[in-house]
Symmetry: C2
Subunit: 116 residues, 2 copies
DNA sequence: CGCAATCGTTTCGGTCCCGTATCATTAGGC
DNA sequence: GCCTAATGATACGGGACCGAAACGATTGCG
């Protein structure tokens, strides 16, 4: 069952969610960072720098820098793959899970408030 | 008629939209910039730096800088208010309108593709 | 063993953004 | 005319990010 949404509703939803996040003083993530974060939390592991770079069609340094920032925010963590020590496995954190869960609730709430 | 959405659907929608934008090489806007852009295009004018700063609960330089960047991207334009020359009126552009319209269509499309 | 391939990170010069404080310009009360 | 208030922009030091290139570490093939 697809979610039916008119363009005006879609834009209003996006605005209300962004406004809420900004006003709440949440980290000012870029679209790239958000794409990475949500992919880590929604798609099945394992996640690697290379895999994310391919999925987003960006270069590896873009992923590395985004992970640097989000690691400082405790939203994700990195760990060497002991089976192939060239790899770095990107893992979820408790704080990141809470952030994503809360973010989903905000979207749901703002969608519920939409006028027809 | 509110839009019903489960948290998992909401997060998946956000991910798919962000992924699409990143992959398409669209400007990597931050949440703040997106909140400003959508407010300019969805809320009734006039829009001023001070008004946006209050609406977003951020400082004026934050708005000025975001407008600098989005002006360079041709997404918005600035013009002195001739009736009160202290004010700067932030206005829409053709490119910005196309960007917002396209963005709305992307959200609608990704919502339609959502699994139940 | 040696060597090429792969992985993630780092470097480089340059741009953008941050928060705080200050600025120039304009308006309006007196 | 003067002085205060208001507006948006700017200066500052610091941090994050960009793309392109080079880097060290690790693997696995010949």
């Amino acid at each position: 069952m697809p979610v039916m949404l008119r363009p005006s509703q879609a834009l209003r939803l996006w605005q209300q969610v962004c406004l809420y996040e900004v006003r709440a003083g949440m980290p000012d993530l870029t679209e790239r960072q958000l794409a990475i974060l949500l992919t880590i939390y929604l798609d099945p592991p394992p996640h690697t720098v290379r895999g994310l770079a391919e999925k987003l069609k960006v270069t590896k340094p873009v992923i590395t820098r985004a992970l640097d920032t989000m690691s400082a925010l405790k939203l994700v963590s990195r760990r060497r793959d002991e089976r192939d020590r060239r790899n770095v496995l990107i893992r979820r954190t408790v704080e990141g899970a809470l952030f994503v869960e809360r973010f989903g609730d905000v979207i749901v709430e703002k969608a519920r408030e939409l006028s027809p």
